[in-house]
């Protein structure tokens, strides 16, 4: 529950709950052995079960249950010892059986929380439940006059539907929740998070009320498939509802869709009797029983979760929360950082902690930028290793090279493949003769040369124009091919100019 004062909009409190459908990363479907992989020719990834042929029967996929357990553990939810599959009955062409196998009264995961930070403030969103259900097929409308084409490749794909309490009090909070949930499910590997392909689909239940009043009637914005449009859609809906209320109209419960072109939400055509799904336990499926040893085994094998890792980085390495969050946005980056720091600590002992900020800065800064530019999303695929980064940081710290040299010379040498990445940083420094010039004698000679060649600048500096100093520093750096220590150059120049 949000502990801070809610952000009122025109005097109204905003109440938001989310339902997210995540497609699970199983090979086969929830109840059939057809493939779940995306992009196949229509109806080629469907078995008798998916076509709902007479006589077909469902058989449960263990991998889907495994992923449900992992999610339940990741959010500290309760994994039900026995949960029941129920039929949700309605007619739609992409629903071949005329019912969806889902979970109704007793879901596999109960409760749980998702925590995240919004502008420095900690938020906690409670989950009601997460349950397993099958996805529907797809209707295609182009190319068919007055008809739709039904593709059942997606029908039967396992979904985990994650439902929150209406704990969110602003659209920003809701988007932050969605991002955190996205991080969790991709981090633990149960969902690939590809929103364009429909792997992570959000429905937002939005209502408004005067503070202290009862909950307002909510409208559901369906199929929010990008973070960008998510906030826009909710903001529009909030303003629209407030406007309605201010005009004296009551809010009718409805399902709405967001139109990115107009920026508006509009009510979907309501289906008659849509609400009467006639749920009953599926007689083809006995209850799903999950023993405690399966849960404990899963718990012991699960990787550390992003929030816990961020907290550890902040505590153990004296990083800011912002840095902690940035480093744990993506699992492999966080593991890269962790591995780098372990190496440092192995070498130097606890004094190595002082390098943490440097390593974090490289990962969050230059390396992140390079990855984005090269289109690499997995840090394990970059030419640099954790050891490279660690050595870089230490060589800058001990003055061997400057940060600029590291960025402009060392990293490109390895990244662009000119030199093999098997080379150690020290070897690169040696090969490319990048070592910072620390020999005062040689440096002095260069400084003298620069001073002699730029008498005009010297005059200006003596006259009080300190900016002219930069030009001299620049020239000196150039003359030393960047290998001089800029601080040292500055000091020597000042000393000589007087």
């Amino acid at each position: 529950m949000s502990t801070a004062t809610s952000l009122l909009v025109q005097g109204y409190e905003v109440v938001i709950g989310f339902e997210t459908h995540t497609q699970l990363t199983t090979q086969s479907k929830l109840f059939s052995r057809a493939s779940t992989s995306f992009g196949a020719e229509p109806n080629t990834h469907a078995s008798a079960v998916d076509f709902a042929l007479p006589g077909a029967l469902p058989v449960m996929n263990k991998g889907a249950v495994q992923r449900a357990i992992e999610f339940g553990l990741a959010v500290n939810g309760h994994i039900a010892e026995s949960s029941v599959f129920a039929r949700k009955n309605y007619f739609y062409p992409d629903l071949p059986k005329g019912y969806q196998i889902s979970q109704y009264e007793i879901p596999v995961v109960q409760g749980g929380v998702v925590e995240f930070f919004l502008e420095g403030e900690k938020k906690t969103v409670r989950l009601v439940r997460a349950h397993l259900e099958e996805d529907a097929g797809k209707s295609l409308h182009e190319d068919f006059v007055g008809m739709s084409g039904i593709d059942l490749n997606r029908a039967g794909t396992p979904l985990l539907e994650i439902v929150t309490e209406p704990d969110m009090r602003s659209s920003a909070e809701a988007v932050a929740y969605a991002r955190e949930l996205h991080k969790i499910v991709t981090w633990i590997g149960i969902c690939d998070g590809n929103m364009q392909e429909g792997s992570f689909r959000c429905d937002a239940n939005v209502s408004v009320r005067k503070p202290g009043a009862a909950l307002g009637t909510r409208r559901e914005i369906k199929n929010l498939n990008s973070f960008k449009f998510m906030q826009q859609a909710m903001d529009y809906e909030i303003r629209w509802q407030i406007e309605q209320l201010e005009d004296g109209h009551a809010i009718q419960q409805a399902t709405v869709l967001f139109d990115p072109d107009t920026g508006e939400t509009r009510s979907m055509r309501t289906k008659e009797d849509a609400a009467d799904y006639r749920y009953f336990p599926d007689p083809d499926l006995p209850p799903l029983v999950i023993g405690r040893d399966w849960v404990e085994k899963t718990r012991s094998e699960m990787a550390e979760l992003p929030r816990a890792m961020a907290v550890r980085f902040v505590n153990d390495y004296c990083l800011s929360e912002a840095d902690g969050n940035l480093l744990t946005t993506e699992k492999h980056t966080a593991e890269f950082f962790d591995a780098a720091m372990r190496e440092v600590l192995n070498e130097e002992g606890s004094t190595g902690v002082r390098h943490a900020q440097g390593v974090a800065n490289w990962l969050n800064g230059d390396i992140a930028a390079r990855m984005k530019k090269s289109g690499i999303s997995d840090i394990r695929k970059i030419p640099l290793t954790a050891w490279h980064v660690v050595t870089l940081v230490r060589r800058i710290a001990d003055g061997t090279i400057s940060g600029k040299i590291a960025k402009d010379k060392v990293i490109p040498a390895i990244w662009d493949g000119r030199l093999t990445s098997a080379l150690a940083v020290d070897d690169v420094i040696k090969r490319e003769r990048l070592k910072q010039m620390s020999d005062s004698g040689e440096l002095e000679k260069i400084i003298d040369y620069v001073l002699a060649a730029n008498a005009k600048n010297v005059e200006e500096i003596k006259a009080g124009n300190s900016k002219a100093m930069n030009a001299l520093v620049g020239q000196a750096m150039k003359a030393t091919q960047g290998k001089a220590n800029p601080a040292q150059v500055n000091a020597l120049l000042k000393q000589k100019i007087g």
Binding site: A34, P42, N43, T44, P286, P287
Partner: protein
């Protein structure tokens, strides 16, 4: 509890069935007769009794069997669409679905 024509219409709509007016009359009569029979259930005390969803559960708890996550079903579109009313380019054709 007697059913009304409204009930019949609602149920028929839920089940996507179309009854002619004379059929509605007849079905109404038959269902009302049926539900008189069903009302007998009220007399049985079922306090504290769990529903029996799976007959085998009488002998002890039944658990859902789980299969390994392997995609072993091949493409069987052609055989499966042999009895389809309308197919084009591998897609089942239906009157346009309005969202």
């Amino acid at each position: 509890m007697a059913l009304t024509p409204h009930d019949i219409a609602r149920v028929a709509s839920l089940a996507r069935l179309e009854l002619r007016p004379d059929e509605t009359e007849r079905v109404l009569g038959q269902l009302n007769g049926f539900f008189t029979l069903v009302a007998q259930m009220e007399a049985v005390n079922t306090d504290g009794v769990e529903p029996l969803a799976h007959p085998a559960a009488i002998l002890g708890s039944v658990a859902l069997r789980l299969r390994d996550d392997i995609a072993s079903e091949p493409n069987q579109r052609e055989a499966s669409q042999r009895s389809a009313p309308a197919v084009e380019r591998g897609l089942f054709l239906v009157p346009k679905v309005i969202e």
